[in-house]
């Protein structure tokens, strides 16, 4: 494959190709619709013969995430992917990784729940992704791609952020972004780091006591409460720094807007079409698209509340992100929610109707 090839592929396939190209050391996963193409593409590409990347189909999502825990403990760039029910199974491991402060990438290609639910697209794992998900006080860095191109681009970005803050990062996509094909420019190849580079860049990693250094221990356990509080406070300080520095968002036609839609991922794509339709009917509406769902663009939403008459949270769920919007807005303007459930994607006309009904 050429260095910067323009091609047509599914979001799931883009994740796999981007992983190989960004120097990922290992992928550990388990099949589940609608994300199985990630593992299938990796298996077909055989990166172990080219870049040396390890690809392993685990016996369960529980095992996948713990393989990621083990691999991340050694300073390697490792990842997994799954869809909603599988991500629920991974919560234990994700909490341990947050506690042990391990950099890794988890991809969630969401489907409708609760329970086994449906295999169709949904955004109903927003709470799970952004509010911890597992036990304990922790956050993942959560990136929400809205195109196949962003599926490819966010793999490297997620790893960069994960290693910068020693914190697990998540790409929160949905079945629509995972299954749809679009034009994508794959990133250029970046070599995997050598073992020497890893040992130098990750002095905390369990690589073996190379050069006779002191033992490294990766653990989330500390039975002395006073010490555990200190660890928690340090992690919280890290989260405040991430909130300060890493908020990412996109604005679309907000300059003259009377109303704003806030939407992420595929809902944001639908919102753009709805905005075209609404504007053709004389309704001045724009879009704020959070790219990082955690850290959430709270300040941007606050600024929005100063200049629009109302905000519609468009989500493919029963209303999750709308809570964060309302917290930011502090009652200054009406905040409404519109979404469809159970794997149904709202169409652009429905959104325009919802906009008219809401304000």
């Amino acid at each position: 494959m050429a260095d910067q090839e323009i091609t047509l592929m599914k979001g799931n396939e883009a994740i796999a190709h981007a992983a190989i190209r960004c120097g990922c050391d290992g992928y550990f996963g388990y099949p589940i619709t609608p994300q199985s193409e990630v593992l299938e593409t990796l298996a077909a590409e055989k990166p172990w013969e080219t870049t040396g990347m390890v690809v392993l189909q685990a016996e369960s999502e529980v095992s996948s995430i713990n393989m990621v825990y083990g691999g991340a403990s050694t300073g390697k760039k490792v990842m997994t992917s799954s869809s909603s029910p599988g991500i629920s199974l991974m919560q234990e491991g994700i909490s341990y990784m947050a506690g042990a402060e391990l950099p890794a990438l988890i991809v969630d290609v969401m489907r409708g729940g609760p329970g086994l639910g449906t295999i169709q697209p949904s955004q109903s794992d927003y709470f799970q992704a952004c509010k911890g998900g597992g036990h304990g006080d922790y956050h993942l860095i959560v990136l929400a791609p809205a195109s196949v191109q962003e599926m490819a681009d966010f793999v490297d970005l997620a790893f960069t952020l994960a290693f910068r803050y020693r914190n697990p990062a998540m790409i929160l996509a949905d079945g629509a972004i995972g299954q749809m094909m679009e034009k994508v420019v794959l990133p250029p190849f970046k070599p995997r780091r050598t073992e020497e580079e890893i040992i130098k860049e990750c002095p905390w990693a369990t690589t073996g006591r190379v050069g006779g250094r002191k033992p490294n221990i990766i653990t989330s356990l500390e039975l002395r409460s006073e010490e555990m509080e200190v660890i928690n406070l340090r992690i919280q300080a890290k989260y405040r720094e991430i909130e300060e520095k890493e908020v990412r968002f996109e604005e679309f036609m907000l300059d003259d807007a009377d109303y704003a839609i806030v939407a992420f991922g595929s809902a944001a794509r639908i919102a753009k079409k709805s905005i075209e339709i609404a504007r053709s009917q004389g309704i001045k509406v724009g879009l704020l698209r959070p790219i990082t769902l955690w850290p959430f663009p709270t300040k941007e939403v606050q600024k929005l509340a100063e200049r629009v008459k109302g905000i519609l949270s468009l989500e493919i769920n029963a209303g999750q992100m709308v809570e964060d919007i309302r917290l930011a807005v502090e009652g200054k303007v009406p905040v409404r929610h519109f979404g469809r459930l159970g794997g149904i994607i709202p169409d652009p006309d429905e959104v325009v109707d919802a906009l008219k009904r809401s304000f």
Binding site: T7, M180, K183, I270, K272, S274, E276
Partner: protein, 180 residues
């Protein structure tokens, strides 16, 4: 130019791959494209559909309320998508799979007997290419050369000897599509 197309039929009719070839051909002409399937167990025998958008500008929503063109290859798909064709838009249906043809007076209705033609040519597997040929005759969304290039790109090498048959099928489709 933006062309918003829904292709719908039974799983196994080549609906998804027809959409993929169309999208790929658009990509090769430097256009913006999205291919959004209704995925899942529907691929096996049930109804299958895919939304393909080919545009000169970045594509906003891959999911649409209405379409410029609907290609319907069975009765349930016709019933579902005929109402969603934009006024002045186009519907193309295969006579074999449709017992009650479309009736809307405000859209252009085309019939293509692709299944019969594929059977006559003894090329059942090129059924979807015949339909694609019909579409390209009335809406030249992409050039035939781009479709052939897309086939070369997406078909495994061992199937490249089938490309002339596919071209034959496309030309057949262009020939037999008729406006009602």
């Amino acid at each position: 130019m933006t062309e918003e197309i829904i292709i719908a039929g039974f799983g196994g009719q080549g609906v998804l791959s027809m959409g993929k070839i169309l999208a790929y051909a658009g990509l090769m002409e430097g256009k913006e494209v999205t291919w959004m399937p209704a995925y899942g167990p529907e691929q096996r025998g049930g109804t299958a559909n895919v939304t393909v958008i080919v545009s000169d500008d970045p594509v906003s929503s891959p999911i649409l309320s209405s379409y410029d063109t609907a290609i319907v290859l069975n009765q349930p798909s016709l019933e579902k998508f005929e109402p969603k064709v934009k006024p002045g838009g186009t519907i193309i249906y295969d006579g074999y799979g449709i017992s009650e043809p479309p009736t809307r007076p405000d859209i252009n209705i085309y019939r293509i007997d692709a299944m019969d033609a594929a059977a006559e040519m003894n090329l059942i597997k090129t059924f979807n290419m015949i339909v694609l040929g019909g579409l390209l005759k009335i809406h030249p969304v992409v050039k035939i050369e781009s479709v052939l290039a897309a086939l070369r790109k997406t078909l495994p090498e061992r199937h490249h000897h089938l490309i002339p048959k596919n071209e034959e099928a496309i030309r057949k489709g262009m020939e037999i599509i008729k406006k009602l």
